[in-house]
Symmetry: D3
Subunit: 318 residues, 6 copies
């Protein structure tokens, strides 16, 4: 099977691909004719494609985010490669295709990420903190296996949120060893809880966010997580005004640091200051890494990155 990034002009090929985008459009002919305007994708990249003369059945058969088998020809249109689709059908169960083979995803498997997170939770020494963390993680356990950390900003791919957590936990672990005044239980709990409501804030499929949920827009993931901690404490019979509940809610509420970035309060505990900066460090470095990985080696500069002051990253070759 041919990977997208290997396709060259005039190649004829057969393979399975993700229908990342699909729209029915009309030609300029009179009368206009319907065709399918498509973006084919696999984990190595994506390419526009056209399926001319789409029948009514075709229009009802294909839908975005499905996997299809395609026979196509690579052409050049306006100096860019484009696939002319000659045959197309949906993948069948017997094709043995795994959808996740076709999408960008974290470099560590969801299973391993979840396993790491669960191990860290198990190692939290304080029973109440551990129980609250478990309760909140339990609300999104399944989604954690696939959800991205954001719509476009950073870690915007399959299992990106869990990957973000695991990397932050590694940094947090290092810092707790470097600086003994940090409480390891609080910092780990803060890292796991800080974005825990994101899977309910956004609606995503295969690691790609299509939109924000109503709750996500009206409350935001920060307040949602704070409410979940309240719910956890009531359910687990932990006093709502106990230092633990207060501390965990503060960690979540303050992790965006400033009001204009969405935090109603600013960090006022050692672990809250650490949490914010670990979050920033991991998110920004991941933006850099992802931009470098998805930019051809031959390019000196990555595209501009919104979250990095809208600058590109330069590959300095020493």
């Amino acid at each position: 099977m041919t990977l997208i990034k290997q396709l060259k002009n005039q190649d004829e090929f057969v393979g399975f691909y993700l229908l990342k985008e699909l729209e029915v459009k009309q030609t300029n002919a009179n009368p206009p004719k319907d065709f399918l305007d498509i973006v084919l994708a696999d984990a190595t990249g994506e390419m526009p494609a056209k399926f001319w003369d789409a029948s009514q059945t075709d229009k009802e058969t294909f839908f975005p985010m499905g996997v299809v088998k395609v026979r196509g020809l690579v052409q050049t249109y306006r100096e860019k490669l484009q696939v002319k689709i000659m045959q197309i059908r949906p993948a069948k169960e017997e094709d043995g295709i795994k959808l996740t083979d076709f999408i960008r995803s974290a470099p560590i498997s969801p299973n391993d990420l979840i396993h790491t997170i669960q191990s860290v939770i198990a190692a939290i020494s304080d029973d109440e903190i551990r129980s609250i963390v478990r309760f909140c993680v339990g609300k999104v356990e399944e989604k954690l296996e696939s959800y991205p950390a954001a719509k476009t900003h950073h870690h915007a791919y399959f299992a990106g949120l869990a990957y973000h957590m695991v990397r932050m936990l590694e940094i947090g672990d290092f810092l707790c060893k470097q600086r003994s005044f940090l409480n390891s239980d609080l910092l780990k709990a803060g890292i796991i809880l800080h974005d825990i409501a994101k899977p309910e804030e956004m609606i995503a499929q295969l690691g790609i966010v299509s939109e924000y949920s109503v709750q996500g827009k009206l409350l935001g993931h920060i307040s949602m997580a704070s409410n979940w901690i309240t719910e956890a404490a009531i359910t687990l019979d932990i006093a709502l005004d106990s230092p633990k509940v207060l501390g965990l809610q503060h960690l979540v509420l303050s992790h965006h640091n400033l009001g204009e970035w969405g935090s109603p309060v600013q960090p006022q505990m050692a672990e809250a200051v650490a949490l914010h900066h670990i979050d920033a460090l991991d998110a920004k470095l991941q933006m850099v890494e992802d931009a470098l990985n998805t930019t051809p080696e031959t390019e000196e500069w990555t595209p501009l990155i919104r979250g990095l002051e809208n600058k590109g990253i330069y590959r300095l070759r020493l």
Copy 2:
């Protein structure tokens, strides 16, 4: 008894006053001698006072926010009036003094304010909304009789918070009549709940805030109220993801309008937009009214008011 605002230079007088501030200081003499540096207050104003040669007993007898009986002489020091205290003793039970006579307070009695608020709650037609509002108000019912709405910003006096609610409810009632697309239940509930956690965010006595509570600093009244609604819903067995819970939490969370003013989300319901602007209108007009009331009629300009772009208000005489 002589009211503070009536005292003139060289007056000798006797009366009861609030010890609004009290500090033990030392004279420049060698060796230095202790004296009490005092601010006397009643509902009409306040004036600095000195009690020279304070004995050890004196230093242990008097404390801020108590009422005292004073015999004093008004003098001029650096072109300002100041009281030289000749005799001073704490008020006794048999003096029949009511502390609230000596402090600034809302122009409507706390009882009447609470009664109005309770009537409005009773008139909320939706059972679940009414119950949630009652639950939250129940958490601060007693404090609502005395708490100010803020430390200094606006309504910073006895029962100021309840007064702020009542005036806002009047405006809200008018607007619901003027514009039928506003849901009256939601708007009333939003008005009552928007600052409901302030009595737990601040520590106040007699309507004067001394500091913010730990919870107030780490969570802020906005997130606290959101948590209370979660708690109310669990207690009252109302689904946490029901539109009512969502709507009430959104009203509370968004009422400061912008992130830099403390709201993690911006108003996205008709009633939330109304709530923010009613809040602003009432708070700003009350700042104006209070500034005019506490500035002598003979002054053209009030002092500068932080919440009004740091401008004074001019008394235009037509």
Copy 3:
């Protein structure tokens, strides 16, 4: 006659509509042919339309903002409805068509709005204030019957400015009753004068602003109104430095509150503070109401609204 919002795919229909937009375009054919690219509108909505094979006469007959009689067929193009025009002619006098039937306009008739405004003016007790207000209103009396309050921001429709005034006068009236320290003459005058120069700042037809006037760009409506008050005072022989002239000019100049919003001075009179907040409250609530009214009932969210922090409004269904 068929209303626009009732048209469905494949409908054939005849009716009168406003030519809201009209552009002569060329087809991709070789040689290209001219056609009319049109937006048809009535008070219920608008729809794109094409009139193919436009003759030279057609191109000279039709112009934007005119009413036409159309026989058309509704088709679907790129998943949106579009009218293919089969016959089209300008409306004639004998058709008895009223242009204002085809445009968005305030829910109260211009006559009634003007009448209300005139009654409020008549009720201003101070002779000089009343005369100045009358002088300024007199400069735009005719335009007041049709002008919007803004290009797109709020009340952007026929008689929108007069409607904005009337609603603000209602709120102002309520507030003067609620708070006796507000001077009713000043507040009413301020409400009527605050945007009074807008009809000279903008160039509008049928409630739709096409552009700003030269004077509007170089001076702005705020300074223009201030100049008009100067002119009124000279004409009416009222001292230019009298408190009344000063007060009215201050109300106008400060009503945008901040320099970055266009006010050269900030509100420094009780009525100026009230005016700014009544203006904000009415404008923002009207944006909400208009967005809800023009969004299909079936949509949960209105489009994003620039003046509301670029958020959409959610229809919470209790």
Copy 4:
């Protein structure tokens, strides 16, 4: 007579000085005694002074901004020089003292400045523009001989405003020669009118502003000048909507460039862009020059200057 900047510790001296500041204070003695806490000044600097044991007559005789004859002794108090006043009396007519000898003032005489401004006005070729400028200058002609350009920001001394105008006119003249697209009449008129209402915005004596006028606070000098141009046009029978009136008002209204700096509109004519930048250039360079002149030659750095990003200026010695 000894200049202030020449006084040294232990000098005994006699001379005339300005009483720049004067306050009656009390000693710490028991009972306290009144003394005069004074700042003596001449054009070379200022120095604190004490007149102990002030009698009731003394307290009624002396007032700030008067000239006095003083016999004094220079002492050191807290490492700074201070005058102990032994004798003091008000200057008499026969002393032949000119008040303006004792204050900071523009380096060119008011007469010469006014003469230059009048010559420039006379050279404006357009009759109507010249008349309007003359009308406005006529409203403050007398004050122009003494008023500063600002309270503290720049040119804050006797005749500072006229000096600012004259220097700007020189730069404007140079630029009109360098760039022929600038209209010399408009630019000259704009320079003369841009701050013309400042003498009515502020209340000053001897070039020192004590406070802003009511009109100054409620309207601001920018809107006041715009109103004056309206008044001038009506008085001179020039059409209010003529390009000349419009242009002059635009120049005045836009000269602060941004809304947050007080301009309701931004520069939109070539001369308005020039005016703003000439104003900035002259004001900033004057701040630098004044700071250097009033800082001893031996100091490397001037004090911090608010209008220059709160930086000091360094004397680079090549």
Copy 5:
């Protein structure tokens, strides 16, 4: 030869033009055919053009920024003029064409500009300052003959940078005469050095910047010039910590005035304050002049100008 701004609909013409933009595109035909989508330009303006049925040779012959001889027909497409190219060939050496005849450029010849700059340098009285300036100018001497001062902001044309320098030198010269506290050597040197690294920051051809260099993006012209001064001092054996080196580096580093505008330090020398304001004055007035010059006389308003608060400039006709 016909100038672009003189071409009218239906004109047939022959002439030499710059190929300012050139892209190979495909028609909508099936199969699509290649055509050249072109922008023709000369010093009077530019116009879109199509060369249909481009052969493979054509596609390899023509390139942007070359001069071509064209026979064409002016047509109207979507209400705009467009050239249909009938014949096209590259200019040959024997055509005697000067590329610079076809581009926008400074109104003074590069030779004269460079000559003026060299004369000013020669007139710097301090040997070390003069040598450092010469060293830095030497690094870009050739490019100074053609480089613009910016990509789009101001002076964005052939020799724009040298023209900017010369005009600033004129203003600087005037100011040094007007204000004797300014050091003429430092101010001249600052004007010449402030943008001296721009030719290495940007990649330009014929006065048109295509992109920023790697060094330009990673260091910026301000830091590059500072480094050059270090290099000059080492090369010329001038102490790196001498006041001259320090002063020149400060002038360069601070000339954007604020951190958000790119200056790591704020102006703290008299000449640095002057430099910033001369730079602003010249750049802004040039934006105005260029906008007026490139807008048809019949238009009242120029297009919006980003560097002038995004406003257009109005041609006031007195």
Copy 6:
């Protein structure tokens, strides 16, 4: 010897202390008498002290930042402890006093810090990068043993700068292991060079900054370090436009991330993004640690910390 933090009211004590501040003041007596107003300090804290009746010799003997032997009595003045000094003399060589025993300093010895830094430099694999780093470190080698990282912001104590470097190097080392796309040589070099010019930007003694140097104010440490790299490259004969020089200068120039924070360019290399966030993380966490360490264990809140959004840090006790 008694540590400052152990002194209690009425203690009589003898010991060696640092004269952290010293000013000659006058009493209010008539005639006033000189006394020494002093702040005594050791590594555990500081306390105000008075030495009454200072003789002329005393005034000439003592100076700030010297060590003295004191016999004193602890008293209470305005509710704070204060030392009445009975005897005082400068420390003598034979007292065997080490100045650094009396000041706050990094928790690791300067020697060890320098040793660590030198080892890291030695481990840089690229010869040119290593040489440039060595050259720059060589310019401040001696000062690195004692200089703080900032005046007040963070690491404001003896050897604070070296300590900041070492901690950042540890974090950098961890991140290079966690993320292989980071170039370890560049990141280490960036960490060592980013603040390397601070010892020349500030004037400090014993880890306490008294003021900024002229060069520090006019150039800033960021541009100074960039110039040093230029100097290093010339000295070491490395091409000024080589990727290594470019990369190191970019790391230094961009490490404050934003223009308003002092960086003329924003991070555009992976290591530059990492450097900025490692710097922020280490600085903020150190502010937290230092605030907690210098706040008594009994206090729940540290004082407000400017660099942490002006918030205090709360000690959450689980």
